[in-house]
Symmetry: C2
Subunit: 289 residues, 2 copies
Amino acid sequence: MSDLRPPEHQVAGHRAAPNKLGPLVDGAGLFYKPLQALDRGEQELAFYTSFSVHPAVPPSIRDKFFPRFHGTRLLPTAATPGESHPHIVLDDLLEGLPSPSVTDIKIGACTWPPRAPEPYVAKCLAKDRGSTSVLLGFRVSGIRVSDAGGAVWLPDRSELKGTDIPGVRRMLGRYVSSVGGDGMDCALAAAVYGGEGGVLAQLRELKAWFEVQTLFHFYSASVLLIYDANAVTAAGGGGGVRVKLVDFAHVVESEGVIDHNFLGGLCSLIKFIADIVAETSDIVSSGDS
Amino acid sequence: MSDLRPPEHQVAGHRAAPNKLGPLVDGAGLFYKPLQALDRGEQELAFYTSFSVHPAVPPSIRDKFFPRFHGTRLLPTAATPGESHPHIVLDDLLEGLPSPSVTDIKIGACTWPPRAPEPYVAKCLAKDRGSTSVLLGFRVSGIRVSDAGGAVWLPDRSELKGTDIPGVRRMLGRYVSSVGGDGMDCALAAAVYGGEGGVLAQLRELKAWFEVQTLFHFYSASVLLIYDANAVTAAGGGGGVRVKLVDFAHVVESEGVIDHNFLGGLCSLIKFIADIVAETSDIVSSGDS
């Protein structure tokens, strides 16, 4: 209990602060996410409860792409002294990575469930149109790059908010680049994005499931891309690369329809990343000749 | 010239009337679409002009899924006596089919180009949320079924407008059913939707292109599904089944991004039709045993 602390490498979402609830990790593999206000926390908990035992979810998809759900736990919080707050207990997705690089990408042109109440729809729509969501089908919500030399690049949120289409392309390039220089050598593109266990192969596996699953629609959920530069370099292509879905406060049941909004955004992300891999291998090829 | 007449089997869009511009056909394979008001006509013409010679469009995609573009022609119209109006000249997609069955499906959860002016966005968004577009990623804009016995089913527009998700499933079932009885025998599901040259195979070919093409975004465009019951029955599975894209007044250039909105809706339509084929072959199998 006493070992609980805010995660070091969070890139998006609410952060714990002396007067603010935020996620905690125990250093032994568990992540504690405070139940969010309004009905968001209850909705996220309902999703995890249903999803974690749903017979129609292939175990390979659940185990590979989702944090494992370990129920809930009441924890005392600095934000409300003397009181405890319910937390959703999940796998710590960064467990075992000493210096993880993480990108949080909110998927979908539309982040509002179709039957959501009006003020919420208007608020989301303004954010979707004001960011790259409507144009691209996704937006980068957070990014942290930690290269093999230990240098860190962590743009602030205002920088991310102002990002346009070329800016997203640049971010996805910098995510697999050394931090120094102009930060665009794409040195790890083949190892992180390409290869058998790389991001691209994993996203395509996820896509194949989204083409047929009619269980849930994942509004406003994110894909996390995770790697550790040292592990990747040591293991060769794809070693230790993780692709995970998170943030399920706006998941709704699907009424027998595929999640075309998430799927479209996912395909757009796949194309962006495939382009970076192709351009990088062109550079490598022409360097070789 | 004197043979020009309104098409017999139109299922959606503006229709020609004594005081109204509408499309014409010449009975020899050409379709004349009056240039639409505002800048829509100019935009559609600009699309056809660019698309028809674009070196990055695979000829197999252009020839198979798009009406061939034959330039423009000024034609006198009953709507404006003494004046002539420019028309876009295209292939008549129903040419050679004595009693075509046609469904017009507007693809995409979002029918407004992201950079469209505000009143237009609000108008489209209201229609997208009021129809099945946001929920399903597509909506049925028109349908006409003409069975092998010559009977015709043609629901009116108000019936289509009120359609919900189960209603869309029913329409796509009735589209491949005999018109009599309860209109849901799905007698032609295997021949029209299934098989090598069927709707499903053609939609999947189109999907593969949309996964990589970053030339155009097809807002508010429709997929037409076309067959002739007699031709299909005579030829066996997939004979004479046509899948065509139409209505390009809101196509925009893509800024290097795939058309995730169209692709998502297309995948949703594919899943709906694949479900009908699977259910129908289940019925056939259990009938055999």
